[in-house]
C-alpha cells in the first residue's frame, strides 16, 4: 500500500496557509497540531474568550498551568504580552465578522464546499455543535484538515454530505493525507498530491469529479 501523509505533515501543510498578521482559530484535534508549525506573527483566537495567547502548556511543565487560562478545547495556555480576554458575545462577533481564518476537522466535505463535522449522523447525542458552525459560517477562510477516506476506505470528499451539515458552501480549501483541493465555483480543483500519488489515484478515492490543476504538484512543506 502507498504511503499517506502523517497527521503531523497534514498539519504542517495547513500551517503554510497562514501568514504574519493573520488571526486564526484552530479546531480541536488535527487542526490543533498546526499550532507548532505556524509562522511568527500569527495571532491565535480561542472562542471561549482569548486572543493572542501564548503557547500551550506542555505535559512536562504542568506547574505552569493556571486554571484561569484554558483554550476552547480545555487545554492550558500561557498568557502572552498583548493578549486580550473577552466574553462570548465579543468572541463570536470576532468570528462572524469575517476577521478570522479557521482550520477545522471534517467528517465530510461536498463538491459545493458543504461541511459536515459535528456528528456522523449515527446517534443524535453522538456529537456536539460547539463553535464549529459559527466558525464555518463566519470565518473569512475555512480550511479543512482531515484524512482523505474513512477508516473503512470510503471517500470523505463526497457529492452530497450524508452526515448532518455544519454549514453550507463554507469550505475554501481541503488538506488531506493525499491531496490539497480548493473549492472553486467550477468544482473541486486538485492542486497538490502526496508524494508518489497520481491525480487518477486520488480521484479514485474521491466521489465527485476533480478538476486537475494545470500546475499540479507534489505537496511541499
Amino acid at each position: 500500500m502507498k504511503q499517506r501523509l502523517e497527521r503531523e505533515v497534514i498539519a504542517m501543510r495547513a500551517a503554510k496557509e497562514l501568514m504574519d498578521g493573520d488571526y486564526v482559530n484552530l479546531g480541536i484535534g488535527l487542526p490543533n497540531l498546526c499550532a507548532l508549525h505556524i509562522p511568527e506573527g500569527v495571532i491565535f483566537h480561542s472562542e471561549n474568550g482569548a486572543l493572542g495567547y501564548g503557547p500551550l502548556v506542555m505535559q512536562d511543565e504542568v506547574e505552569k498551568a493556571d486554571q484561569h487560562y484554558v483554550d476552547a478545547g480545555a487545554r492550558y495556555f500561557t498568557p502572552a504580552p498583548g493578549m486580550a480576554i473577552f466574553d462570548l458575545v465579543i468572541s463570536f462577533a470576532m468570528i462572524r465578522s469575517g476577521r478570522l481564518i479557521t482550520i477545522l476537522g471534517g467528517f465530510q466535505v461536498s463538491e459545493k464546499g458543504d461541511l459536515a463535522n459535528w456528528n456522523t449522523g449515527e446517534d443524535p447525542l453522538g456529537g456536539t455543535i460547539g463553535g464549529g458552525m459559527d466558525l464555518a459560517v463566519g470565518a473569512k477562510r475555512v480550511i479543512i484538515t482531515m484524512e482523505h477516506t474513512t477508516k473503512d476506505g470510503k471517500p470523505k470528499i463526497v457529492k452530497r454530505c450524508t452526515a448532518p451539515l455544519t454549514a453550507r458552501k463554507c469550505v475554501d480549501l481541503v488538506i488531506t493525507d493525499l491531496a490539497v483541493i480548493e473549492v472553486t465555483p467550477e468544482g473541486l480543483l486538485l492542486k497538490e498530491v502526496a508524494p508518489g500519488w497520481s491525480a487518477a489515484e486520488v480521484q479514485a478515492l474521491t466521489e465527485p469529479r476533480l478538476i486537475v490543476a494545470r500546475d499540479l504538484k507534489e505537496i511541499e512543506l
Binding site: I28, S46, E47, N48, G49, A50, P55, L56, V57, M58, Q59, V62, E63, A65, D66, Q67, H68, Y69, V70, A72, A74, R75, Y76, P79, I85, F86, D87, L88, V89, S91, F92, I95, R96, D114, D123, P124, L125, G126, G127, T128, I129, G130, G131, G132, M133, D134, V137, G138, P164, L165, T166, A167, R168
Partner: protein
C-alpha cells in the same frame, strides 16, 4: 445602601422554584459556579431548564471535590447546550439515561446561544442568524433573506436566574473576572431576571476602578464569597489541576 451580600449559598438560591430556568458558565471545570450548583442540588428544585455552553462529565473527581453541572441532571426538565460531553469520550452518552426518562435537549451553537442571551438582555425580539442555515438548527424556524443571504430567526433567552463566577465584586455588585472564567457570564448576568455571583473576593465600594468593571452592579442581585480553600476556590482548583495531571490520559487531553 441595598445589601446584596449573602452569607451562604443556600440562602442565595433559596427562592429558586421548581420549573425555573438557569443560565451558567462552564468550560470543562473552568468557570463553574460550583458553590451555587452544589447549593441548588441541596435545595432540590426540580423541572429546571439549564442553559449552558458546555455540559461535560466530571470523570476524575468526587462530588466533594468538584460540583459540576451533571450533578443537576436529575433535577432538569430541559437542557439547552452547545457541547454535551466530549467527542473523544462518546459525546452525549452520559446523559442518555436522562433523555430516555424525558429530559429535553436543545442543541445550539455557542455563538447562537450568546446572541440569543444578548437579545434577551437587550430587550430585542430575536436575531436573524446566518449560523445554522441548512442544518438541523433551522428546523421549525422562520427564515428570511436579507441582502441576498439566508438567515434564521432565533428567539431571545431570558433566564430566571444566572449563576456567575466572578473574581471580585464590590458591595454594589460591580464584577471583574479572572481570565477565561469570564466566558459568557457578562451577557448571562444581563439577560437573567435574578443574577447571583460567587466570587473569590468581596471588596468595598470604590475599590474597583470604574474603567475595569466588566459586569455592572445593575445586573447583579446577590453576591456570595467562595470560602478560602473551599469548593471552587483558586487554591482548590490548583490542587485538583496537579492531581489530574498525574493521570496519563487526562494529562494528554489537557496538555500538549
Amino acid at each position: 445602601m441595598i445589601n446584596k451580600v449573602f452569607d451562604s449559598f443556600d440562602e442565595a438560591v433559596a427562592d429558586i422554584p421548581d420549573g425555573a430556568s438557569i443560565a451558567t458558565g462552564c468550560w470543562g471545570t473552568t468557570s463553574l459556579s460550583q458553590n451555587l450548583i452544589a447549593a441548588l442540588k441541596r435545595k432540590g428544585a426540580k423541572d429546571l431548564t439549564l442553559i449552558v455552553h458546555n455540559i461535560i462529565p466530571t470523570l476524575f473527581f468526587t462530588e466533594d471535590e468538584v460540583a459540576n453541572l451533571p450533578v443537576l441532571l436529575p433535577q432538569l426538565k430541559k437542557l439547552i447546550a452547545g457541547v454535551v460531553g466530549l467527542q473523544v469520550l462518546g459525546a452525549g452518552a452520559f446523559i442518555k439515561e436522562y433523555v430516555e426518562m424525558g429530559l429535553e435537549v436543545e442543541f445550539t451553537s455557542h455563538g447562537t446561544l450568546a446572541s440569543r442571551l444578548y437579545a434577551g438582555a437587550a430587550g430585542l425580539g430575536g436575531i436573524y442568524n446566518p449560523v445554522g442555515v441548512g442544518t438541523i438548527l433551522e428546523e421549525g424556524k422562520e427564515k428570511r433573506v436579507i441582502d441576498g443571504k439566508e438567515y434564521i430567526l432565533e428567539m431571545p433567552i431570558r433566564p430566571d436566574y444566572a449563576f456567575i463566577r466572578g473574581h471580585k465584586a464590590d458591595k454594589l455588585g460591580n464584577v471583574v473576572y479572572w481570565g477565561v472564567y469570564r466566558e459568557d457570564h457578562p451577557v448571562m448576568a444581563m439577560a437573567a431576571k435574578v443574577t447571583i455571583t460567587e466570587v473569590d473576593e468581596i471588596v468595598e465600594v470604590g475599590e474597583i476602578d470604574p474603567e475595569h468593571v466588566v459586569t455592572q452592579g445593575i445586573f447583579v442581585d446577590r453576591i456570595v464569597k467562595v470560602p478560602e480553600g473551599g469548593l471552587g476556590s483558586p487554591q482548590r482548583a490548583k490542587e485538583l489541576l496537579f492531581k489530574v495531571a498525574e493521570i496519563d490520559i487526562v494529562r494528554q487531553i489537557l496538555f500538549k
